[in-house]
């Protein structure tokens, strides 16, 4: 399918002065927006954080921390309220790679255009 990268802005809802911008890999196999643990301090204190045991792509189970609420905005899409999963990431070149998961995509009304390698807007489907 190729890689789809999206620019994301994340803001702590309770302390909006704390925000960060990053490029994140769109990963429809991931659940939520996933950031490296070491970036957590840049977003300040969240009212709710919970240790969650999750399975990662390598099938390993790892301890992560899910914090929120945060305002998450994928560039070109509306900001949404959600949670962030903080995980000790090991990138290919030592650089961690944030992930945009399917919950964030669905909330934002974004879908992957696998031919155009981009995100496109989709209307909500009332099934």
């Amino acid at each position: 399918m190729g890689r789809v990268i999206a620019h994301v802005t994340i803001r702590n809802v309770i302390d909006p002065t704390k925000e960060l911008h990053c490029d994140a890999l769109v990963d429809t196999g991931a659940t939520m927006l996933t950031l490296p643990t070491r970036w957590r301090e840049r977003l300040g204190t969240f009212p709710h954080c919970q240790k969650v045991n999750m399975q990662v792509a390598t099938q390993e189970r790892v301890e992560t921390e899910v914090c929120g609420p945060a305002e998450i905005q994928i560039e070109g899409f509306r900001p949404v309220m959600g949670e962030i999963c903080f995980l000790d990431m090991k990138g290919e070149n030592g650089e961690p790679e944030p992930l945009v998961g399917y919950i964030t995509l669905e909330q934002s009304g974004a879908a992957v255009d696998s031919l155009g390698h981009r995100l496109i807007r989709v209307p909500y489907d009332l099934k």
Partner: protein
């Protein structure tokens, strides 16, 4: 006076606070939480989807378990929010707090069509105490209020009653409407013969319902442990069966009342008795019960017997309307569940209007795979009993009247 319905509200662009009943049974398996019976969640979908379709900002609130006014992780609604996501195919924004800054910020960011779920209202001591301060804090999150939690409508709590004092308009949701249509309006003048089947553990829980239904029913069939108290009132030995000794006189009064009103009031003519209440216990069908031949000493009734099943089946077959509340025996143990299942099957085959009034009989009907054969299955146990008693439910009484 009729109450306002969700359909009477202009919800587009409005923040609509919806009290739902997501108090569903779950099972924790490793890291996953499985919803064992999602009926209550599914039954609230018509209201949720109506609001999404009409461009409302839907803020759901519910209780879950009995956390007694403090946060208890196992009673968090978060997994239920995730489950709802899978049903509506749209993320449900979860607020870890029920009131305060967190839900306020979340609601501020909502757009038309979005759905949010607040954390368990019973994490707050003000919920069950119907505290006006808590009710007001909840009310501040919405412009309109909809009560769709039939199962909690008999309780005067902050999210079911108190909140309505702080909302301009409070209406009933589509599930609430459906429940009232079948259990209140539908049974006001039921097609005759009207057969009522009552079971369960205690006579004391059903006194009001029994008295109220004697005004309308042609036949009342009794099962479950409550039948033992009636058997004792008729002078039949009940062995070690569960009885409410202080309700024997009342049972006698109820039997007399039925005679007075010409209601056919049937109690088991035989039972299945067991030496213990556990799977694999020794069990047998008693002979025809009489004051001389009752349940054996040290043994207890665990189900209605074969002759009773046949008698009850015959009555159900003649009915035009059948209402059932409460199992006929200890149906959680499959060996003791045959009478309960037989009643469910008789109802399914009857061709009558069949109404299951909530509680364990709903579980029994589902276990028998007969849910789709019934006319209506209520989502509320206690609420349906109160409604059948003829009481007005506090959560309904508090809603805005139609002009």
């Amino acid at each position: 006076m009729p109450k306002l319905s969700l359909r009477d509200l202009d919800v587009r662009g409005k923040r609509v606070l919806v009290r739902v009943d997501f108090n569903v049974p779950i099972e924790v398996r490793g890291h996953k939480i499985r919803v064992m019976d999602d009926t209550r969640i599914r039954e609230s979908l018509p209201t949720i989807n109506y609001l999404r379709e009409h461009g409302a900002k839907t803020i759901l609130m519910s209780h879950f378990g009995r956390p007694k006014g403090r946060p208890v992780e196992k009673y968090s609604l978060r997994p239920i929010g995730e489950y709802l996501h899978s049903l509506i195919h749209q993320p449900v924004i979860f607020s870890h707090d029920t009131i305060g800054e967190v839900p306020q910020k979340i609601v501020e960011h909502m757009e038309n069509g979005d759905v949010a779920l607040l954390e368990n209202v019973r994490f707050q001591p003000g919920e069950e105490a119907n505290d006006p301060e808590f009710a007001k804090a909840l009310a501040e999150l919405g412009d309109l209020y909809v009560n769709d939690a039939f199962g909690a409508a008999h309780r005067a709590h902050a999210s079911t009653v108190g909140i309505t004092k702080f909302m301009q308009k409070s209406a009933m949701g589509l599930l609430m409407e459906k429940e009232l249509k079948h259990l209140r309006d539908g049974l006001e003048k039921p097609a005759k013969p009207f057969v009522v089947i009552l079971g369960g553990a205690k006579v004391s829980d059903k006194i009001g319902v029994l008295k109220a239904l004697m005004e309308k029913a042609d036949t009342i069939l009794i099962g479950g442990a409550m039948a033992n108290t009636f058997l004792k009132a008729e002078g039949i030995p009940v062995g070690a069966s569960r009885v409410e000794p202080d309700k024997v006189d009342l049972a006698r009064e109820l039997l007399d009342l039925a005679k007075e009103r010409s209601v056919k009031f049937l109690v088991p003519i035989d039972v299945v008795e067991a030496d213990e209440i556990r799977a694999g216990a020794n069990m047998r069908n008693t002979s025809r019960l009489s004051p001389r031949h009752g349940i054996s000493d040290e043994w207890q009734a665990v189900d209605i017997g074969a002759a009773t099943v046949a008698l009850y089946q015959e009555e159900i077959a003649k009915a035009e309307t059948v209402l059932w509340n409460g199992p006929m025996g200890v149906f959680e143990i499959p060996e003791f569940g045959e009478g309960t299942i037989a009643i469910a099957e008789a109802m399914a085959q009857s061709g009558a209007t069949t109404i299951i009034g909530g509680g364990d009989s709903v579980t029994a009907v589902k276990q028998a795979g007969l849910a789709d054969k019934m006319t209506f299955i209520s989502t509320g146990g206690g609420a349906s009993l109160e409604l059948l008693e003829g009481k007005e439910l506090s959560g309904v009484a508090a809603l805005t009247e139609k002009e």
